[in-house]
């Protein structure tokens, strides 16, 4: 198992993900945990989020990203879990766990993977605000080609 993406409506256990990637030859595990904040990027008070995903395509995109990370940084094992459904402040939305022999590879691959996932994975987030409003929020983008 060299790469794994889980899209799940259940709470994510980062330790379980780390257990999947760890082996006796791995000296380093770098884990990123994305948590639901109480405040949006533009300063609105957030009460909850909803995520949805196009799961089959997300899995393919993740496989590509993991391949790129290994080609760039070196041998490592990468696992990702992303929540879908309704989340509250403090809930874990996403976890990226990377195990490698040495820590530079683990850090670099972990960061590359979360950055690329945020840009490219077909996953969407709706923020629900304390004032009753809600909005689909897009990540600040790299390349974005319109469809029509």
């Amino acid at each position: 198992m060299a790469a794994l993406l889980r899209v799940t409506a259940e709470p994510i256990d980062p330790r379980a993900l780390e257990a999947l990637v760890r082996g006796d030859d791995c000296g380093a595990v770098a884990t990123f945990i994305g948590v639901v904040r109480d405040c949006s990027d533009d300063g609105r008070s957030v009460t909850r989020l909803s995520y949805e995903a196009y799961e089959t395509m997300a899995r393919e995109e993740f496989a590509r990203i993991a391949g790129e990370a290994k080609a760039r940084f070196g041998t490592c094992t990468i696992a990702v879990a992303h929540r879908v459904g309704d989340l509250r402040v403090g809930d874990v939305a996403v976890v990226v766990a990377v195990a490698s022999r040495h820590r530079d590879v683990a850090f670099d691959a972990c960061r590359y993977t979360i950055d690329a996932l945020k840009q490219r994975a077909p996953i969407w987030k709706k923020e629900h605000y304390a004032d009753g409003g809600s909005d689909w929020r897009e990540n600040r983008c790299a390349e974005q080609a319109g469809a029509s």
Binding site: E52, V94, K118, I123, N139, Q144, S148
Partner: protein, 79 residues
Amino acid sequence: MRVLAFARLRELLGGGEVHVAIADGSTVADLVRQLAGHRAEHTAALSASRVARNGRLAGLDEVLGEDDEIALLPPVGGG
């Protein structure tokens, strides 16, 4: 044909899976125009989105087959 719609487009089109009758030889661009149907909000949301065909991003001039899985992908917000 079967079209998957996500996020804002799911809400606008009234469901995560919509069924659309298309003419033989229709392209991705034809499908997008048909889905927009001269409605300003739909047109804006679709023009900000990308289209995937069988799990890969599709060009506007690709010709659709009845069995393709088409997905409408607004700007992503995961993580």
